[in-house]
């Protein structure tokens, strides 16, 4: 029976979630494997596990339970070891590395920020700042919408201006929040959002961080800013960006430890 791994934490963690429900249908029982000073939170791996909404939620729920009471290194969804022994083997082999990461992330949580433009508001900005666009929009309007070509021309100009505004606002937002965080991790770029940034925040600074978010919302009313947290530090489990597990020599995460 292969073993599904949720995360790695300290063996001394005060409330390890033994017996709760994990991934699978019916949910597989969560177990704890201790190895030296470390513990892996695992369950049996269900056959044919797929990245369904329910399974992702189960993974996240197990981790957020652990994260409430102490530090956990969350695994990416879907990590399966051949068996319990293999998990213990990895813990033993890389004990020093994981202990270092747990120490660096102790007392810290992740807040993920995603921002999108409120379309109407950003279009107002773009119009206000760009006479060419304003003129073209006006002439199209007077022509009852304008020809296909002139619509395309207008749309292309607007799209470019909006894209520029996205980059600008993403920077402003990140600057406004990074001062309340220990580390920043910029997520993958996508059209789903103009900013997707995670911040590593000390638990005791969470209030200040959220206040900074509110202030940013006030200053940038044309943005829809979504906050998710506190979360286990998904984006900060390794010190550098995109380093393969186990090879990190450490030292690049700002201010941790």
């Amino acid at each position: 029976m292969s073993t599904y791994v949720y995360g790695i934490t300290a063996a001394t963690h005060p409330s390890l979630p033994e017996g709760t429900g994990g991934v699978g249908d019916p949910p597989r029982e969560v177990r704890v494997l201790k190895e030296g000073a470390l513990a892996a939170v695992v369950s049996d791996a269900p056959e044919g596990l797929r990245p369904k909404r329910r399974e992702l939620l189960a993974h996240q729920n197990v981790l957020s339970g652990i994260g409430e009471e102490g530090c956990v290194l969350p695994m990416r969804f879907g990590s399966v070891a051949p068996d319990d022994k293999a998990v213990a083997g990895v813990l033993a082999e890389r004990a020093e590395h994981y202990a270092e990461r747990l120490g660096a992330l102790e007392g810290r949580v992740e807040y993920n920020i995603k921002a999108t433009h409120v379309e109407e508001a950003v279009l107002h900005h773009v119009m206000a700042e760009n006479p060419e666009i304003r003129a073209l929009a006006e002439s199209n309007r007077q022509a009852g919408g304008g020809s296909y070509e002139s619509k395309i021309q207008l749309g292309e100009l607007v799209a470019a201006a909006v894209k520029g505004k996205e980059a600008e606002d993403a920077t402003v937002l990140e600057r406004a929040l990074e001062k309340e965080a220990d580390a920043v991790s910029v997520g993958p770029e996508s059209t789903g959002w103009l900013a997707n940034v995670s911040f590593l925040v000390k638990r005791e600074s969470a209030e200040r961080f959220l206040t900074a978010v509110e202030q940013a919302r006030g200053r940038l009313p044309h943005l829809d800013v979504r906050v998710n947290g506190p979360l286990p530090p998904y984006s900060f489990v390794e010190p550098g960006p995109a380093e393969p597990a186990g090879t990190a020599a450490g030292g690049t995460d700002a201010g941790a430890g």
Binding site: V90, H124, R141, I152, N228
Partner: protein, 147 residues
């Protein structure tokens, strides 16, 4: 089937937060090379930069339409003090049929997920991204989602 526990969100979140968190669960977190990862057929499409899609004729036309409908009298900071949800509802009340170019872009991701799901098997269960972000559940979108 899909009972959604309330997600911890630090204000202004709501159900859209769920999608935002699941993206992290899928895409970040510790990877250990000695372990295998379950097949995520198609799911990693999220990583593909879909900006290409934005630079499409369709997007340009939607932007042009949106500009055409824009109420220039209102000014850019019409609803600065209101929470975004309220602001959006007001907008959609006034302009019910406007399908935003921006939310349209978000849709392309959703569509990519949906497509991936269809390719990955014919399970009837809804996977994360096939669920519309509740925040932008405009009537025109909902129709598409139900297909």
């Amino acid at each position: 089937m899909t009972v959604v526990p309330a997600q911890q969100t630090g204000g202004g979140g709501g159900t859209s937060g769920l999608y935002d968190v699941l993206e992290l669960v899928l895409d970040r977190g510790l990877v250990i090379d000695a372990f295998v990862r379950v097949s995520l057929v198609g799911i990693e499409i999220l990583k593909i930069d879909v900006r290409v899609v934005v630079a499409s004729v369709d997007t340009y036309l939607r932007f042009a339409e949106a500009c055409n409908r824009l109420d220039l009298e209102a000014g850019p900071r019409k609803d600065p003090g209101l929470p975004d949800l309220v602001g959006e509802m007001t907008e959609s009340g006034a302009r019910g049929k406007s399908k935003g170019a921006l939310s349209g872009a978000a849709e392309t991701i959703s569509d990519a997920f949906k497509q991936a799901r269809d390719e990955g098997g014919s399970e009837r269960e809804r996977e994360p991204a096939s669920r519309p972000r509740a925040r932008k559940a405009a009537p025109s979108r909902r129709k598409e989602e139900q297909e």
